[in-house]
């Protein structure tokens, strides 16, 4: 539906629907309002509390695609270099292995015990495929060679 | 048995009867001692009706009408007000007591006021005790 965040009427459906808001002081509606008036605090951890469950977005009566908007805010934060270390690590894993969660010796064994190939037929198996992924990331200006 | 006053209320059709109906629609509770007689205008309240009521044993009589200025018939209630003064005087002479007569203005929207007036008046009559004529009649 993608209506402007400024059309928010402060009904509170979003905050009320949010699974995170129930356990931490993250308030979806506040984020929307801050966005509407252009006062995002990129240092505020709240940005990262959203699970992208889409509840708020599917329920917003004013048709604001809230979850998508939150992702945009995160992207801006990232561009400003404000990102959580574990997330940076995930990028690093992808760069290194093509996988956000690369395989380890234990699982290799488990795979074999189950009768599966030791390595999955993914970038783990195909070196040139991994290079392709890296190339795409490098083109975007992301390098995590270490 | 405790004394339960008998109260007669003369209501004009437009305002006070409307108020009494309104007390009903709003479910405002008041003591069940009052019985209403409806006239078109408070100006119709013939002094004879009031006296008749007392002579037959009523413990209290209420006269009610539209607020001054709001009379459906222009100024019937001014006349009622004058008559009220006269009647009070007369009731004192008769030994019934002016306190047993009450005049109230209620608009059709004042259900609450109607109920409150009836409640207060009932309490007052309860405190005054039975109509002395009735006592004497015994």
């Amino acid at each position: 539906m993608n209506k402007d965040v400024r059309s928010c009427m402060k009904c509170g459906s979003c905050t009320a629907s949010c699974p995170s808001g129930r356990v931490v002081a993250f308030r979806t509606r506040k984020l929307v309002e801050d966005r509407a008036i252009g006062e995002i605090d990129y240092d505020d951890l709240s940005l990262w509390y959203c699970t992208t469950c889409f509840n708020c977005m599917e329920r917003c009566p004013r048709g604001i695609d809230i979850t998508d908007e939150i992702l945009k805010i995160r992207e801006e934060a990232y561009r400003k270099g404000k990102v959580l270390e574990p997330h940076r690590a995930v990028l690093r894993y992808i760069y290194r292995s093509g996988h956000a969660v690369p395989i380890n010796p234990e699982v290799r064994e488990k795979r074999m015990a189950l009768g599966l190939s030791e390595l999955p037929p993914t970038t783990h198996t195909f070196e040139e495929a991994l290079l392709e992924v890296r190339r795409i990331m490098e083109d975007e200006g992301i390098e995590y060679k270490e | 048995m405790s004394f339960e006053p008998r109260i007669v209320a003369f209501l004009c059709n437009w305002c006070s009867y409307g108020a009494a109906d309104m007390a009903g629609t709003s479910r405002i509770q008041y003591p069940p001692n009052v019985r209403v007689i409806r006239f078109m205008c408070s100006g119709r309240i013939d002094p004879n009706f009031v006296l008749e009521a007392f002579l037959r044993g009523a413990d209290g009589v209420m006269m009610t009408g539209c607020h001054i200025g709001d009379c459906h018939y222009i100024d019937g209630n001014y006349k009622t007000a004058n008559r009220y003064e006269f009647l009070k005087h007369y009731l004192d002479i008769l030994g019934i007591g002016a306190d047993r007569l009450q005049l109230e203005w209620c608009s059709a929207a004042e259900g609450l006021k109607f109920a409150q007036s009836v409640t207060a008046f009932t309490e007052r009559i309860r405190a005054l005790g039975p109509n002395p004529l009735k006592e004497g009649g015994k």
């Binding site: 699970t51 977005m57 599966l116 | -």
Partner: protein
């Protein structure tokens, strides 16, 4: 219900968690598909989908490009994709839909892929395994293969991205969907209701990777409302891991449950290994 689809060849998108952490899901899925006549073909050289919670959050363009590369692998195989993970589904389904809807985006992705001698090809359709079973394979056909009636009491967990965003999903009722319960009940098990049934597991959006404690608190709240069940069944390895971490009862992937009802043993579907 008879299935809609006559297709039986698919490219299998494994993602990361399944092959690299929960291979029993891969194993059981391969087993049941073979039995069902669904031919799964490996997507050679596929990568991370990429992880929507992280990559989509930071850099949507990059997310689309890497997803586009995965889509292209399937396009070259000439087969639509089946995924086994809500996250992969969320990425590949949404990316494919967005690309189909938006020629300009396509151009951006094509340009990027051209540097690695790839294109986007004809953008393939993306299915989640359980969605395919229900809407396309069909409960009736599926039930022909059920040989053993299980009588587990199951707490079903759908997971958010199987259901939302609804504009790219086949069920519009994300608050009270029933298709996964029906699939579970086909095995003879009972899907028991619980208060927070439809609540998020808390893992998504990078929350589990970024702020694990918070993520687990959400999961705890959810799992605490389960009563009277002897297992949780999920259609997603990510929810799976998240719930398993806070649950006292076993968490089982749907293929495993289905495989048991087809007569496979616990060992074969990796439940023993998983324990």
């Amino acid at each position: 219900m008879r299935g809609l689809s006559t297709k039986s060849d698919f490219s299998l998108f494994l993602g990361c968690l399944i092959p690299n952490r929960l291979p029993e899901i891969e194993k059981s899925t391969r087993l049941v598909c073979e039995r069902l006549g669904i031919n799964l073909h490996d997507m050679k050289g596929a990568s991370c989908c990429p992880a929507p919670g992280v990559m989509k959050s930071f850099d949507k363009a990059l997310w689309l490009k890497i997803a586009g590369r995965n889509l292209d692998i399937a396009a070259n195989m000439g087969m639509d994709i089946i995924t086994l993970c809500n996250g992969c589904y969320g990425t590949l389904k949404d990316a494919s839909m967005e690309l189909k809807d938006d020629p300009e985006l396509q151009e951006v992705v094509r340009a990027s892929l051209s540097t690695i001698d790839r294109d986007l090809g004809k953008i393939v359709d993306v299915y989640h395994f359980v969605e395919y079973l229900y809407f396309d394979y069909g409960l009736d056909d599926l039930s022909d293969h059920i040989t053993k009636k299980l009588d587990y009491k199951v707490a079903a967990h759908y997971g958010c991205h199987l259901l939302k965003p609804i504009k790219y999903r086949r069920t519009k009722d994300f608050d009270a969907p029933t298709f996964f319960d029906e699939l579970i009940e086909l095995t003879g098990s009972t899907s028991v209701d619980y208060v927070e049934k439809n609540t998020c597991c808390g893992a998504g959006g990078g929350l589990r990777s970024g702020l694990k404690d918070v993520a687990l608190d959400i999961a705890r709240k959810k799992v605490a409302s389960i009563k009277d069940a002897n297992m949780i069944v999920t259609p997603c390895p990510f929810c799976h891991m998240q719930l398993a971490q806070v649950s006292n009862i076993p968490v089982v992937y749907y293929s495993q449950l289905l495989a048991l009802s087809m007569g496979f043993s616990e060992e074969e579907v990796g439940m023993a290994v998983g324990k």
